[in-house]
Symmetry: C2
Subunit: 298 residues, 2 copies
């Protein structure tokens, strides 16, 4: 059995200690600990040490007017992040993403993904979607409460994670890759889309292939998953069998799509100059998906 | 290859026509169509015909003051649902669930899951989580807009789907099933928990098994998925390999857990009187998971 590289943003050594989150005394004790560490973030951009690890400071660096979340334990030390309100435009967000993707070691990027996802969720969810009142962090910063004590409706809100399917249609030893208008020239990747209300993973894969490429597919096989914290996706990578190689693109979604064989995908993954397309980068699960398809038995 | 029953709440023949949702003229045209049909719901409880199909009426039955969502097409006919505000307590919600689970044919239950999920999401998300103002349905009822034209922040909100992992730990041809306090006497099922921020499916499976049962597991294999519209979960069923049969239960989550072999699981799935536990019902993906494990090669 071939050993594969883990998907990007997985493998964080953070211990989440979920069962203690409701325990305010535990939170306070961790915050008083001399070993407590604060993740250094400027907006959503992480501080990165020269060795590609995340930068951590002491809790004394935190703005006392901003609530803290306790991410969990790393090396036995409690790890906090400030739940500052993020007011970044998409250019700043992309720059922060780029730092994480290019400068951090892979396990560090996974820890950053947790912190970023949590901070960003709080920042975008200050109000109760049910009653419109302001909410406050609780459960060690892993939820928000619309507090009845201050006139709220009592609803508890938890961070949102949006499942997304990303898939290769397969037909006679070739797979379908497509490109969007805004992508770098020559880049092709797996098609993708959000799982909708009342839909299984398998149904979402079949629906998206049909909608985006006119491909009728069945026999959906799960391959791998990764969190994608830009802002809050869970990427679920699959392969499905196409009935025919005919394609009918939704031009709003997909600019162009091509069927490629294993030699072509291998060339793209190696970055060969004469490869028929540019593969997605290694931290993207589409890369994992193509890599596993190439090495799987026909 | 054994053919398995599809997981509960999958297999709806509804055609979602996603690419037309933004097209208000298309929505209006469908609403004017003589073939347009309205799902009959009392709160969240579906009207059920004697043959186990959903009850549909004409759009004339809809409250004109309540916005409509266009679910999609069934038998070529546009299918609508009223986005009425639901004020049901948990007993009423359970009763509605029970109707769907016991009276509807399986494909009909899948269509109901879509409608219920959408109606319930709208009902619980009248306000913008970002700025607190009221939002309005748009995109044919598949999203809500915090409208800048009326002072909102412009954020578009889409229905939320929460990924949940549900899994069997496997050790030497036995799997771990556990029970919660509130379950019917004798009922055991797979353990489960929400996928968290910054976590893959595989990481969530390992974390939940460790937190709930003290089991160290790896080699996570995906088995199947289903939507679970009570209110908005995507259930992702997996099997993982346990390092040892030792268990250490989190008593807040799991009252009791047992390792069971294939003969015992088969007896439970058959409903044998002397089975060591009562299996989850067929519409639950835990049933699918146990069934597939029983018939898989050792």
């Amino acid at each position: 059995m071939t050993r594969f590289a883990a998907p990007g943003f997985t493998g964080s050594p953070l211990v989440r200690v979920d069962h203690e989150r409701e325990n305010q005394a535990w939170f306070d004790e961790q915050a008083m600990s001399l070993s407590a560490r604060l993740l250094r973030l400027a907006g959503l951009t992480p501080a990165v040490e020269p060795d590609g690890t995340l930068g951590w400071g002491s809790l004394a660096e935190a703005d006392p007017d901003v609530p803290l979340a306790l991410l969990g334990l790393l090396d036995g030390k409690p790890r906090f992040v400030s739940l500052a309100r993020i007011e970044e435009d998409s250019a700043q967000r992309s720059a922060a993403m780029n730092v994480a993707l290019t400068q951090l070691q892979s396990e560090e990027a996974a820890t950053y993904a947790i912190a970023r996802g949590l901070v960003d969720w709080h920042s975008r969810h200050s109000f109760c979607a049910r009653c419109g009142r302001t909410t406050q962090p609780f459960r060690s910063g892993w939820a928000r409460l619309c507090d009845q004590a201050t006139g709220g409706c009592g609803t508890e809100h938890f961070p949102r994670t949006d499942p997304v399917v990303i898939m290769l249609a397969e037909y006679e030893d070739r797979v379908l890759v497509g490109r969007q208008h805004r992508w770098p020239q020559g880049r092709y990747s797996a098609l993708a889309g959000f799982v909708e209300v009342g839909e299984s993973i398998e149904e979402a894969v079949a629906r998206e292939l049909h909608e985006e490429a006119g491909v009728i597919a069945s026999n959906v096989r799960y391959v791998a998953s990764q969190p994608w914290p830009f802002p809050s996706q869970l990427m679920i990578a699959c392969i499905a069998s196409a009935e025919s190689p005919a394609i009918n693109l939704d031009a709003n979604e997909i600019e162009h799509a091509i069927w490629v064989d294993r030699a072509e995908v291998s060339a793209a993954l190696r970055g060969d100059a004469d490869a028929p397309f540019q593969a997605p980068p290694p931290y993207a699960i589409a890369h994992t998906l193509l890599s596993r398809w190439v090495t799987a038995e026909g």
